[in-house]
């Protein structure tokens, strides 16, 4: 198995006035192809910060992030944005859908990022067809024209997953994807994640507080005060 995402000696320090607050302190980790890993730890342990650093939304203060073999931390910002689009998908706890767009458009938006206007005019129909298929896949074929405000929490998260999938990323970084859902709906979302993982061999890094969810993952990376406290392998 090859690593699709690697962090080497990642530090992240925030500055608050004259005070320096170390949030990540030398994180070494990797995510293998087709793997679902859980990132667990108490609040303030640095889980979300690590996800942001791995997703190139926040540069590390020190250390490197690799997508496959490529060190992406030194790349220029536009290239990082393109790689983020191609390599990584995001699923957030609060779904973060664009409220002005319906479900289909929210999913299409994931593909529009790298398309020019003429490109959209020639290939837009194909993108919409693919978005429809993905929404069908997540069980929302009847809700294509619904806006986020007309969808339930679980449905919104399904749209967010479809949006993350449309650019066919190698990794999906899911920051507490079930944190805002009731247990039944959360179970449905988790089943969907595992199904996608099985079918498409997409790697997932799941940030979670839920030990049961973490145990279901292939591996658990436990953070404590910005450092990796332990790594546990195997589902149990």
């Amino acid at each position: 198995m090859t690593a699709v995402l690697t962090a080497v000696g990642v530090h992240k320090t925030y500055r608050l006035g004259r005070r320096e607050i170390p949030v990540l302190q030398g994180i070494d980790m990797s995510l293998m192809e087709g793997e679902i890993a859980a990132l667990v730890g108490a609040s303030g342990a640095g889980k979300s910060t690590l996800v942001h650093v791995l997703g190139l939304l926040d540069p590390p203060t020190q250390g490197t992030v690799h997508y496959g073999e490529t060190d992406v931390t030194t790349l220029p910002t536009p290239q990082q944005a393109r790689l983020r689009h191609e390599h990584v998908g995001f699923v957030f706890q609060f779904y973060h859908l664009i409220p002005e767009l319906n479900a289909l458009e929210n999913v299409c938006l994931g593909s529009m990022m790298t398309m020019s206007l003429p490109g959209w005019l020639s290939g837009g129909r194909r993108v919409k067809q693919r978005a429809r298929e993905l929404l069908s896949k997540v069980g929302l074929e009847e809700r294509l024209r619904h806006r986020p405000s007309q969808l339930s929490g679980g449905e919104r998260q399904r749209v967010a997953i479809a949006r993350a999938l449309i650019a066919e990323p190698k990794v999906i970084l899911a920051d507490e994807p079930t944190g805002n859902l009731d247990s039944n709906t959360a179970a449905g979302i988790l089943d969907l994640i595992w199904e996608i993982n099985e079918e498409r061999r997409i790697s997932f890094l799941l940030v979670t507080h839920n030990e049961a969810v973490a145990r279901r993952c292939d591996r658990r990376i436990r953070l404590r005060d910005g450092s990796v406290e332990s790594r546990e392998v195997g589902r149990n």
Partner: protein
């Protein structure tokens, strides 16, 4: 693609953005509408003033000359006609004439004696210079039209004849055959004694002229030049004196060339005076410069409207950036660059300005096209008179839609709004995506 798609969606879903669009529309409409009326008015005035002015004029400041001596110097293959003029100023009082009752009724008892320029003309020559013959025939009021179009100053009796502007004749309600009193004064010199001589003389209105130049009509009366020469004696020994010669050209576009040539010839012959083209004459230039200046001032005032519209767009877009902070984080996560985020909000400004400018140009064009219908409707329905024709001397409100001005207004409005949109766009582009995502 998402930059255009999201810009349109953001705008459509927020009716408050209409404020910016309406602001731009109003500013562009006002700039096109008001300036088009000014331009039309200037154009119309130029035509009217041009109608009352000859191509070239030989003017004197203080001295007078003999027409017989100067005339040969002005002969040139490009000169079509020349006519001597002699001007003075005086108070014209219609109340002291035969039309007293009518004048008092027409002017509601207000003082009517007005200061006039009194111009003595040689009608036969003057008719060759411009459109005076047509101006006499163009008078629609039968009781104000001259009887004999060839000899308009001819009148039975001893009193000399006078032509009065149609608008003035109507304002005073004086008609052909009415008498008016002209009072004037001038310095005379006998040996070493200079004294002020007062002249008071009755005249009979022989008809009116209609130049369509309201200012000129209201302040100028015409006499036969021989009558004028009697009133304003020569300062020299000659009896065919004048203080201006109007010169008409076969080809008015050669005015400057012929002006220079004749001026050189006059200087060589030691004659007085200087020839000027019609637009160089001080009163005309001052009048046209004045209206031009007013147009420029009005444009400046209206440009302030564009600035207000820009601030409206700035405020609404800043509000939108604040509302869409979380979206900025999401879009960055999906692969957008800072430039992409900047372009979304810049495109919002582009859509607002283009839509506002388009509507403003359309509204300006439609308002100008139907301006006179609108003012007629306002007058008949509500009694509101927006453009009193008796003040401006024009039957309709003139307008001239200059494509160049429309392009300048449209381009400047779009440019200004885009410039102001850069501020919220830059604010959005510099938002930290991680902090943006933390907004729930």
């Amino acid at each position: 693609m998402y930059k255009y798609f999201l810009a349109v969606r953001y705008l459509v879903s927020r009716p408050i953005n209409l404020i910016g669009t309406i602001g731009v529309t109003l500013a562009v409409w006002a700039l096109i509408f008001v300036v088009s009326i000014f331009t039309g008015y200037i154009h119309e005035m130029r035509l009217h003033v041009r109608g009352t002015a000859s191509d070239l004029s030989l003017l004197f400041d203080r001295s007078q000359d003999s027409f017989a001596q100067v005339e040969p110097l002005l002969r040139h293959e490009g000169v079509r006609a020349i006519a001597p003029r002699l001007s003075w100023y005086g108070l014209l009082d219609p109340v002291r004439g035969t039309a007293k009752k009518r004048v008092v009724a027409a002017t509601a008892g207000q003082p009517t004696a007005n200061f006039f320029q009194v111009v003595g003309i040689d009608f036969a020559r003057e008719a060759e210079i411009g459109s005076l013959r047509d101006e006499l025939e163009a008078v629609p009021d039968a009781d104000r039209r001259v009887v004999d179009g060839q000899r308009p100053f001819l009148i039975k009796g001893k009193q000399p004849g006078m032509l009065i502007g149609l608008s003035r004749a109507r304002a005073w309600d004086v008609r052909r055959g009415d008498s008016v009193a002209l009072t004037t004064a001038m310095h005379t010199q006998k040996q070493k004694t200079v004294s002020l001589r007062t002249i008071e003389e009755p005249f009979v209105i022989t008809g009116a002229y209609s130049s369509r130049h309201h200012e000129f009509e209201s302040s100028t009366v015409l006499l036969d030049i021989e009558t004028m020469r009697r009133l304003v004696p020569s300062r020299g020994s000659h009896r065919d004196h004048f203080d201006e010669i109007a010169i008409a050209l076969h080809d008015p576009t050669r005015a400057i060339e012929i002006r220079d040539l004749l001026n050189a010839r006059l200087a060589k012959a030691g004659a007085h005076g200087q020839i000027a083209a019609w637009q160089e004459r001080k009163p005309i230039r001052r009048f046209l410069d004045n209206v031009e200046h007013q147009r420029s001032l009005m444009s400046l005032v209206l440009i302030a409207l564009i600035a207000i519209a820009c601030f409206l767009v700035l405020a609404t877009l800043l509000m939108m950036v604040s509302e869409k902070t979380r979206d900025i984080g999401v879009l960055t996560a999906l692969g957008s660059t800072r430039r992409g985020i900047l372009m979304i909000f810049l495109n919002c400004g582009l859509v607002i300005s283009t839509l506002g400018v388009g509507l403003g140009v359309l509204a300006g064009w439609l308002t100008c096209r139907h301006l006179n219908d609108i003012t007629d409707w306002l007058e008949t329905s509500f009694g509101i008179k927006l453009f009193p024709s008796e003040i401006y001397g024009l039957k309709e409100i003139p307008y001239e839609l200059e494509p160049r001005w429309i392009v300048i207004v449209a381009g400047s409005a779009i440019g200004a709004v885009l410039l102001f949109s850069l501020i919220p766009a830059a604010v959005a582009a510099t938002r930290n995506p991680v902090q943006a995502l933390r907004q729930t």
